[in-house]
Homo-oligomer: 344 residues x 4
């Protein structure tokens, strides 16, 4: 951590900062330039941060040097990439996975039809929501336990591992009986008590980026899970909030190669929610795969026009096979191994 003093800071003010750094067992390293002085604090970052030196007399501002996340950092695994294994599927490193399914579990017929379609097209996991976070309290909130039961049936029939969301720590008990991967939605990315409890389940977690979360905050959120001893965390870019109103969210694909440098964790992209319209979902899926994503999670429906939730962005089952083929092809150009490639 670097403490940049104001121009004209007095020796007394400099001494005071040094003293406080030393009080918490760290050491100070002074560097005097022509115009101003910079004090490097060497030692435990968190202790120095807790001093709140940005408001000490004579201090202009503080520059953090060390990254605040530890377990998630590339350095922590010495450059080795984490590959999350879920049943036969692998996500991360050289492996690309396609996760597909309905936004919401609505009925037995819908769930099984979609599950069969995505399985046939080579998808690696089945997604589907039983508990749905909804902006309006007057909207459909998901089938709950009944939805979980239908996902279980689809899993038994297709063999696909199941990805589903939890919003409330009190539902974890039910969800873990069915889920192979638990999803944390964007609105809950900083629901810290939920993250800690999910860490303790030991199950793979798909952690969605909050819609105005920085990459650093996303990594700090993953740290809440990792510190419970659960290192099976997949990060998910799903669009951020910007001034542009032509689409619901702005899909931030620069996050993909940037996260690859910062962390060893796999990076998945959800192109459905940002686009909000199915004709945009395929170009953005291809773009995500080209950018080097380790996986894509996408919404599919057998009758999108009748979907209870987010029908406009669901890919129809009848073109899904072609969609999946193109996605896999681009992922392979980007250097990944895919389920189709492996079969070939």
């Amino acid at each position: 951590m670097m403490i940049v003093m104001k121009e004209g800071a007095t020796q007394e003010q400099i001494d005071h900062v040094v003293e406080r750094i030393e009080e918490v067992g760290c050491s100070a390293h002074i560097s005097k330039g022509e115009l101003l002085t910079v004090i490097g604090a060497i030692g435990d970052r968190d202790r120095v941060a807790a001093l709140g030196l940005e408001a000490a007399p004579g201090v202009d501002h503080i520059v953090p040097i060390l990254k605040p996340y530890k377990l998630a950092s590339t350095q922590f695994r010495k450059g080795q990439r984490t590959v999350v294994e879920v049943g036969d599927a692998k996500v991360g490193g050289d492996y690309f996975a396609l996760i597909a399914g309905p936004c919401t579990v609505e009925s037995r017929d819908q769930t099984l039809t979609v599950a069969r379609t995505v399985a046939d097209a080579g998808a690696d996991m089945l997604r589907g929501g039983a508990y749905k976070p909804r902006t309006s309290p007057y909207s459909f909130q998901g089938l709950g336990v009944e939805g979980l039961r239908l996902l279980q049936e689809a899993k038994e029939e297709t063999g696909l591992p199941v990805v589903t969301e939890v919003m409330d720590a009190r539902d974890i008990e039910n969800v873990v009986e069915v889920a192979d991967v638990i999803q944390v939605g964007a609105r809950n990315m900083q629901n810290y008590t939920l993250l800690s409890e999910l860490g303790r389940t030991g199950l793979p977690i798909l952690l969605k980026r909050g819609l105005s979360a920085t990459l650093e905050e996303l990594l700090m959120a993953s740290e809440y899970i990792l510190k419970e001893g659960n290192d099976k965390v997949m990060l998910c870019e799903r669009g951020i909030r910007t001034f542009e109103t032509a689409y619901r969210f702005t899909l931030d694909l620069l996050a993909v190669p940037t996260l690859r440098e910062l962390t060893h964790l796999p990076i998945v992209v959800d192109p459905s929610h940002a686009a909000g319209r199915r004709d945009l979902v395929k170009p953005m899926s291809l773009a995500a795969a080209a950018a080097g994503a380790d996986g894509i999670i996408v919404e599919v429906h057998n009758d999108p026009e009748k979907a209870i939730c987010d029908g406009p962005q669901a890919l129809p089952t009848d073109t899904f096979n072609e969609y999946a083929e193109h996605v896999f092809r681009v992922a392979e150009v980007a250097g990944k191994r895919t389920s189709r490639g492996v079969e070939a």
Copy 2:
């Protein structure tokens, strides 16, 4: 809801949209312009929205006309403003309240010293955190139940009602024994299960705007509380996330007069977190009062340099009296009644 058809939409496509609107018991009203056709859907907004017509063939886009919130809307109370009463304090309508106290409850001495100072300066309520949402799992997470006990003691001594945050529905039981107002932090604004449970406590709720939440989303979040029969909700602007990095968040004071038009609920401003530095807190407090806020919630510490959390933005106790006087004076220019004005 208006369904705007694409230029060149066919009669068949128009008929299809009309049919679907009528299927859900609403009526359609067609308006043909020179270039394109607009179909007004008259009836239950939520049912038409659930149709997902934005993806129907020939549809260009959908324009919602009715606001999605109901109980929070100005129309719901026919223009009458909600005044939330908490002990002797009143917030909303003509009444302005100053809520002050430490960011985090750290110790008995700190809590009581700050509480006495803010009570003497005419503050209307005491704020203080026992459960703290922290970006880093390695930071201090609050004193928990012990913190609640200290707030209780401060309340008994000063008579000030207590405002404190809950992050986990499982802590509500403990918090309601001490809190007069429960705060929902920005990160939990869309934690819907928490909001519903807080609605059921019947206690006044201070609901902070999420850092990238639109005003409409803030009002929809309040709707989760209101629909439980709890109409004692105060909305709180605390800064939004923008591209500007010169401060932590951008305090959005246009929200104050805009919310006043949209809702009957009181509007409180938290100037501490956006500013992040105490020299900015006073100008922004005065600005918030001038903009017509119904209250201000601000952080105060007896020894900011030693504060465990957010010390740099805490106002020091020794200048708090003058701060409060200036804030009350501007609130009165803006047409409000304040605790000092009432005493005078």
Copy 3:
């Protein structure tokens, strides 16, 4: 244009709005719902907009229905896509073009070396700046006329058409002697007098999106050029400003398929400026091509470490051939014809 009245608007207020619409020669179409009334104004959009009805008594808000741009709209060319031809290069429709070269023209050696490299790798045009917009008045501002001369020499040697930027209408005269395409930088996207003058040159224009411009504003800016009778406009996404600080700008690739629906003009992507670092440039170039871009404009340098301007984001000449090959391959998967494909 739809005028949405407030709940409880009086008949007199409704009549007043209708009257004003009719005063400017348009007709009004009233639609009464259960809660409120919507008035459709049919006729010239600009005249109704100029009425400023959003502030008329009883009006809640105004919803524009027609798009404000005309010549740029997909409808204007009845769905046919514009292909801009520059020498042998084609951009738009089925054609993909790679535009590459140094950020700034620095020297004869640098310019010719880079030009030869990109020509050999199959690039379709040479980019290079002679006039540079710089945030700091203390930074290098470009070689000016001498830079243009060097571009001319590179063009003669390689046969590549030249793309270069103009910042001041008074430089157009010099630039048109060399340039085959004139670039408008992001900071000048709304420099309307410059746009009109460039329209009058009749040369192809590469119009960069302002860093907080909506797609609609980008299209309105293109309209300033198109209305001068110059329809050779290429739009360029180059990153927008968001809260994320991990990169300089957020490359908004959703703009590519969205613009394709809104306009007949070709869409080019500049991945260099958003990334700011060369290791991010290749993944984002592949992503842009996968998203369906009609072209990519990218910075290349023979000695990036010594580059006067933006060296960190320049691709080195020694790996450019491989870069170009991968970009062309992905563009072909996305359905485009490329210079390499044509040769094959």
Copy 4:
């Protein structure tokens, strides 16, 4: 400037960075922490920045320490504040000025009526546009030279100095004959050739913040004017672009006290364009004055419903006197001297 090396950077990489810093005549100061090494570059900031070290091998990132602006910085004037004098009006330091008038000069009657009203209410300057930057090429673009003539007449009659905008350097010659202050609109904040020419006029300049410009960029833009020897620059906050769509722009009042710390230049606020609606203009004007603004620039019209441009946000002449009185009163609470206070 601090160069932060990656964890695991080699001694060779560190030496290379040091060498390059020394090559440009600066000195390097190495600070080795437990995990990583930081190299301080001491000397000319611009030369080190031009090295582009962020892409050198082993470098993680660069942290600028010195601010990039010089003439605009508080330090440059050793803490003394610039007071811009325009006729009898003073802006900056202890002085608050109210600048008011029509958005666009439309007619003799409108201009003179508004000018008399604002003069009577104690406004310090008259604003009015003769050249208007318009998003649409199909909108009214201003009366041009005829508009300047009308402003001249209003100035002669009321004695108020005139503030008017220039968009094109070729119009400066005409404008300087009438204008006492030249305004640079938000869209032209980074039109560097225009800024330099305006610097050379020697007239006071009102420089509006671009709608996604950081405060640092605003100060850098002012530097283009200051470096021509013209130190009469007023900065103007007028709203920034964010995700919130409830208003046109988000008025960023934290800019006011923050700029006060960073620069000696006066800070003016334009509340009209962000609000977009007149009922929001007064609360935001009071808020700006309370935040410590040195001036407010606001739009006034004698018949807002008939205004050619931005009528909905214009304050009507008939309530302007009361508006001005409230604004002056709050400015005085915030410690400013105003024209009314001086008269009293």
